[in-house]
């Protein structure tokens, strides 16, 4: 299904001026962690105007829920909630998360995010590596704990620069 890639997915969302923070391993990758991830996780700002922009961008990416075979498209009510919307798009898997960790939404995470340059005139907000490490430590699942050494090593290398 995916004819585009993660870069195009993020470009699409940002060109539509969707306010979002990339979290999860994609944020680690963007900051320099050589890791494998199979999707992009974003936390979006849950305001009606931003949801409208997000819905438009998702429609142009042919986004549907990937955990359901009926091809259900996300709606405003889905995206306004705090839950996780696990989508497949023609640019790969994309998880639109209302909140992460202990019910942290866009506004809670924004102070601990940084803006990175994706391309000419296009920036994207990502969750800072140190905050991502804290969240993964707290999550404590084996898959989160397994990536901590490489995340910490990346943070260490970044601080040496």
């Amino acid at each position: 299904m995916a004819s585009l890639g993660f870069v195009e997915a993020l470009e699409h969302l940002r060109r539509a001026e969707v306010e979002l923070i990339v979290v999860g391993m994609a944020s680690a990758v963007l900051q320099g962690t050589p890791a494998v991830t199979q999707d992009i996780d974003i936390v979006h700002r849950r305001t009606p105007a931003n949801i409208e922009r997000l819905l438009e961008a998702l429609a142009s990416l042919d986004a549907v829920y990937r955990t359901d075979n009926r091809g259900i498209r996300p709606s405003a009510s889905h995206l306004l909630g705090p839950g996780h919307n696990l989508l497949k798009t023609r640019a790969g898997d994309l998880d639109c998360l209302g909140t992460i960790d202990a019910d942290l939404g866009y506004e809670d995470l924004e102070p601990d995010s940084i803006e990175i340059v994706l391309g000419a005139g296009l920036t994207c907000r990502v969750l800072e590596l140190s905050r991502l490490i804290e969240i993964k430590q707290r999550a404590g699942r084996p898959k989160d704990l397994a990536v901590l050494p490489v995340l910490r090593a990346t943070l260490d290398e970044l601080r040496k620069r």
């Binding site: 995916a2 391993m25 900051q31 050589p34 199979q38 290398e157």
Partner: protein, 65 residues
């Protein structure tokens, strides 16, 4: 053309301690990744994800989350 066997010095493996840190992480990979732009890093991750998806389609390899 003559063929010679490499000497022991030429094929001596690098000691693990020179490759990995105390957590088993190869720092040289991270330093190399840091030389790429964020866009290039994400593109690599995307290519890998596409590769894994294809493997999954072909062989039923379980999704890694």
């Amino acid at each position: 053309m003559s063929v010679r066997s490499p000497s022991a010095d030429e094929i001596a493996p690098t000691p693990a301690a020179e490759v990995y840190d105390d957590q088993g992480v190869d720092r040289s990979q991270i330093r190399a990744y840091l030389e790429l732009t964020p866009r290039e890093r994400l593109q690599r991750a995307s290519d890998l994800a596409a590769y894994f998806r294809r493997l999954q389609e072909l062989n039923g390899v379980p999704r890694i989350r």
